[in-house]
Each structure stands twice: as C-alpha cells, then as structure tokens.
C-alpha cells in the first residue's frame, strides 16, 4: 500500500519540473519518521522510482524534461509524440526503465560487495576521464557542424562556471550581481531552452501539437512490446553503461546521454535518431534507470551516495540510526534485504501503474493547443521559481527560451550545452583536484589502465570530426545543408 502511494507521489513529483526526485524525497522525509525504518525506506525508494518514471512523461509529451536524466529522452521521445506515436514512446520508456532498473537490482543482489570495492578505485582523475568521455562522445557522434557543437558546449561550461567557485571559494563572472551568486541552475536553463523554446517554435509553425493528437489505441502496450525484442543489444549496452555509471558514481544523467550516444553510434537505425526512433527512447531510459538504481549500491555498502537522491536517502538512513557501510549487511540484514526486495516489487508495481495510465497521459495531447500553451508556460514558470525561490530565475527562463529557439533554428545543438551546464562544475573540480594531486602533470590521466583507457577513447572521439572532415570535406557540407 505504501508502495503504491509512494510511486504515485513519485510520478507526480517527476512530472512537475523543478520538483526533482531529490527534492521530493527530502520534502517527504519528515513524514516517514513515525514509521519503522524498513517501511519508511520502502516508501522513499518508491517515490524515487516514481520520480524516475515520471520524468519521462513530460519529456515525451511536451519536450520538457522533468528531471535531468530525462533530457536524453526528449531527443527521440518528443519527435515520436509529434508523429502521433506518443503512446508507443511512453510504453517504450516505461518498459525500458523497468528493464534497466531490474538489471541493476539483480546486480546489487549478487555482486554488492565486489562492486563496492571497484567503486573505491575512482579518484578525481577517473571522474574527469568519465566526464571527458561523455563530452567527447558528443563531438564524435554529433550530427551537423562540429564547431557549433563545440561552441554550444563551451557556452554551457561558461554558464556553469558563473557563481561561487567550488574549489577556492572565489566569485566568478558575477559582476557584482547577487542573483548570479548561485550560478545558473540547470533546471532553469532546461525549462527555458526546451520548454519555452518548444512553445515558441510550435507557435511559429502554428501546427501546435496537432500532429501529436493521434488516435488512441488500447493495444499500444502490446504493439510496442512486439518491437522491443529486436533491440536486445541496445538494452544490454544501456544496462551495462547505466549500471557502471551508477556505481562509479557518475549518476543517471551522464548515463542516459552515454546510452543514447552509444545507441546512435552502433544501431542500424542510428541515422534516424532524433527524428523519432523508438530505440532512441529505449537507450537513454534503460541507462538512466540502471544508473539510478545502481546508485543505491555504493550508498548501502560504502556510505557514498551515487546520486543526489541517494544522498538524501542516506541522510534518512542516518536519522533512523542505521550506519551505512559494509557492516550494514551484517548487522541489519532484515533492513537490507527488505530494501532489495522492495526494489524488485517497487519497479514491478510502478511499471503496472504507469502502463495502465499511458492512455490517460496520451490523452493530455488532445487538449487544444490554446489551453496547453499557456498552461505549459505557467508550469514552466512555477518550475523555474521553485528551483531557487527567486523571480530572477523566471526571467532567466524566458531568456533561455528565446536562446533555445534561435539555437534550434540555427543548428546549434542544445544537448551539449545542457550537459556542460550539469557536469561543468563537477568536471572542472575533478580536473583541478587531479591536477593538484599530480602537481600539474597531465599524465595523471593515464596513470592507470582504468582512467587511461577511458581518456584515450575520449581523445579519439573528440578528434573524430576533425579527422573525418579532412578526409571527407564534401560529406560535411552536405550534412550541414541537410541540417
């Protein structure tokens, strides 16, 4: 019962932009103090699963990612909705989330201690290597102009560096404005770039979401499931990427981007990605959920939270007097296995709940555009406001909206910008920490096989467009004309 309640709450939280899984769990944490630890953690993890599912809904329907990790889902999910396949995209997203999560849970069940040790090997150099690889994969795999990708990514980094510098505590790029002290928040940018930008383009086209309002068929679930077995490799690849990123802990957001990038690179349908390919929904969702679930592992075994939400859950554990770490498995067996069991059950129940609601969600698209458009603006404004409780963010959201519109029109890709904004701070601080520990020696990134191989792969990917440009100048021009 608690589980159902938790999941429904979680879906609501996931759908509302600005209220993320971490916030949701934090807000509801006090409610669970009166419960015993096992039911409390079941409730909280259920909210977490719900939020993971919920983030996909708005991404697909309105191109507004409710959660950072659903940004990659919008790339193909929203085009699918525009082509009248919203129901298939939703079913695909939910199912693949489920597969990813279950994969990670199985991993946790059997490999917890072994993996925990592996996670300890990750220092700043390894972190930077992973982040570098994520960025490089955009340069290497992106379509269109590599220089526009690069410019857009750098702008993201620049925006990320605004505010308090995490390493030395100096103020950067604030020019004396107090509002800039906290820097640009990722969610504000995303809500503006994707949400408001999308509204502007839809208004310009005048087409509204009419294409999205296709006939609803109740057999969407079966129809979609029939297509899924063909994507076995995509599933497996995303599961592995996700689980690895969750444990290391890279988190669900880079995992979803990597899952998408890899699928785009290796899939037979890779060329159609971005135009509404089911595989493009499946890949990031599977990876994000595998990562989101796997993030619980380092939290339980080492007390290192793999994601912001896991960090809040960790706080909860401590409040209940449970000390996470290797001893938790010995001393609080009941609790740990209760939690693991709840992961299986929670995902299963969650899948059933969201699947039965697919027609309901898809029906939202049949609401006339002149209602939906202002309503989305309102929801976006609320979302932007709640991030920091400041009106300044709402204004920024409008600015980002205009920016998003022009960038999309001119072929500047938005995903690299967003990704740089999310990971910029982390990447910068791990780079600087690594540099500090090596006293400025760049070879620290190749000091062991782990970070070395990741870095090498990243460098190859980053230089890929340059190489292919030299070999094939015509092809590049054609690609640009097509974009």
């Amino acid at each position: 019962m608690l589980m159902v309640l938790g999941i429904v709450l979680g879906v609501v939280i996931g759908v509302l932009p600005g209220l993320g899984g971490a916030n949701g769990v934090a807000i509801l944490l006090p409610l669970t103090f009166s419960m015993d630890p096992t039911s409390a953690i079941i409730m909280l993890t259920s909210i977490y699963w719900g939020a993971l599912f919920g983030g996909a809904i708005t991404s697909i329907l309105f191109n507004i990612p409710g959660e950072p990790w659903s940004v990659a889902t919008t790339f193909d999910g929203h085009p699918m909705a525009q082509r009248g396949k919203a129901d298939e995209a939703l079913v695909g997203a939910f199912t693949s989330s489920f597969v990813g999560a279950i994969f990670a849970v199985i991993l946790i069940t059997f490999l917890a201690p072994v993996i925990a040790k592996f996670a300890l090997r990750f220092g700043p150099a390894e972190f930077f290597a992973v982040q570098f690889l994520t960025f490089a994969s955009f340069l290497g795999m992106g379509r269109g102009s590599a220089f526009k990708t690069l410019a857009s990514m750098c702008l993201g980094f620049a925006l990320a560096s605004v505010g308090l510098d995490g390493v030395t505590g100096t103020l950067r790029l604030t020019f004396g404005y107090d509002e800039l002290l906290n820097g640009f928040k990722f969610l504000v940018a995303v809500i503006g770039l994707f949400g408001i930008g999308e509204i502007l383009s839809s208004m310009e086209e005048g087409l509204s979401f009419r294409g999205a309002a296709a006939k609803l068929k109740m057999d969407a679930v079966i129809r979609t499931w029939r297509q899924l077995p063909k994507m076995g490799f995509t599933f497996l690849r995303s599961c592995i990427v996700g689980a690895w990123m969750g444990i290391t802990p890279g988190g669900a957001t880079p995992a979803s981007f990597m899952g998408y990038g890899l699928a785009k690179r290796f899939s037979k349908n890779g060329r159609n990605f971005g135009k509404g390919e089911l595989e493009g929904v499946v890949a990031p969702e599977t990876a994000a959920h595998a990562a989101g679930t796997a993030a619980m592992l380092p939290m339980l075994t080492l007390g290192i939270p793999g994601s912001p939400t896991a960090a809040v859950l960790l706080g909860g554990l401590l409040i209940w007097g449970l000390q996470p770490g290797p001893l938790l498995f010995v001393e609080q067996k009941e609790f740990v296995w209760g939690l693991i069991a709840s992961m299986y059950m929670g995902n299963l129940v969650g899948l059933v709940i969201v699947l039965t609601c697919v027609p309901l969600f898809a029906a939202i698209l049949r609401v006339p555009f002149s209602i939906v458009a202002p309503a989305i603006v309102v929801v976006c404004a609320i979302g932007a406001y709640t991030v920091n409780n400041s009106m300044f963010d709402v204004w920024m959201m409008l600015v980002f909206g205009v920016m998003g519109y022009f960038f999309t029109k001119l072929g500047y890709p938005l995903p690299p910008l967003v990704l740089a904004l999310v990971l910029g701070d982390q990447a910068e601080s791990s780079f600087r920490q690594a540099m500090l520990s090596s006293q400025g020696d760049v070879t620290i990134f190749w000091h062991n096989w782990l970070s070395g191989s990741i870095m090498t792969l990243g460098v190859i990917l980053a230089l890929w467009p340059l190489v292919s440009m030299l070999f094939n100048k015509k092809g590049d021009d054609a690609a640009r004309a097509a974009a």
Binding site: F147, C154, F175, E204, S370
Partner: protein, 174 residues
C-alpha cells in the same frame, strides 16, 4: 486578425530574417560572450598557483578561448555561405504568432511579482484562451481557475512549497 494558431498555408511568404543574418548575429554574440568570460578570467588569473593548483580563472579562460575560436569559424562559414542567404529563418506571421505567447508571458512574469503567481497564471491562461483560442469566456475562466486552484492545493498544501503570493491569497489567510 484571423486565428493565428491555424497552420499557415502560404510558405512562400517573404522572409523577415534570413538564416544567414541570424547565424552571423548569433556567432557575434558568442564572440561577445567569450570576450566577457576571458576578461573576467584574466581578472581571476588563469595561471598555476603553488599549492592551490590552477587559479579560478583557468578553466573558464581556456573554455572561452575554444568558444571564441569555434564561433569565429562559425561566423566565417556563415559569411561565405550563399545557400543560407536564401533560407528563411522566420516570417512576419511567425514572429506575430510567437509574440502572441511571448509578450503576454513577459507581462505575466512581471505581474507575478505583484499579484502572486496563482492569480497571474489564471489571468494569463484565461486571456490566452479567450483571445487566441476563441473559447467562450466562461470556459476560459473555468479552465484557468481550475489550473490555478489545482496548483495552489498541490504546492501550498501538499508539498508545502511556497510560491509568490499576492494580496488576494493574503485575504484568504495564506
């Protein structure tokens, strides 16, 4: 004015802004942004500091340099490109349609600071539905009040997230 949310039929309307012009302007803005970042980074210092590692300006400085280089290439490409000059970025109707949602949105955000987000949202939605969606006024009001009401209950009462409120909410004791 006809219903501007209708799909447009005449695609060969004269362009208001060509693709190329916009490309050049955006590339220039990128250059300006790089210049601002570089200026602040030089203030912070971008060299190596003993026992402190790279100075705070280090990362932004090189990022901005890369950004400047790639935008310069984008700019050059846009200037040479003949194909883009003929491409239409947007038309007059397009801009009109966009301002139909964007200008009210500006007023809406401005109004939020004074009358609170709930009242402003209700007015915004109702006005948009009435003027652009051609809905009867009672329908517009019902939908607008419904959305505002639901969000009020959800944020203020269930999740206890305070949003900007104005005199009307204060009258009800919130």
């Amino acid at each position: 004015m006809s219903d501007i949310t209708e799909p447009r039929k005449d695609d060969d309307e004269p362009a208001l802004v060509s693709h190329r012009t916009a490309d050049i302007v955006v590339a220039c803005l990128f250059l300006v942004a790089s210049a601002i970042v570089i200026k602040d980074a030089t203030r912070l210092g971008f060299s190596w500091r003993p026992n402190e590692g790279p100075a705070p300006g280090y990362f932004p400085f090189y990022i901005a340099v890369v950004m400047a280089i790639s935008s310069a290439i984008n700019l050059a490409r846009a200037v040479i490109s003949k194909a883009e000059a003929d491409e239409t970025l947007t038309t007059k109707t397009g801009v009109l349609r966009m301002s139909a949602i964007f200008v009210p949105a500006l007023i809406y955000v401005f109004a939020t600071s004074y009358i609170g987000i709930y009242v402003a949202s209700a007015i915004y939605i109702a006005a948009f539905m009435y003027f652009f969606g051609k809905f009867p006024i009672w329908k517009s009001l019902a939908v607008a009040l419904g959305i505002s009401g639901v969000s009020f209950v959800m944020f203020e009462i269930w999740f206890l997230v305070p949003l900007p409120k104005g005199p009307i909410e204060a009258a009800f004791g919130f």
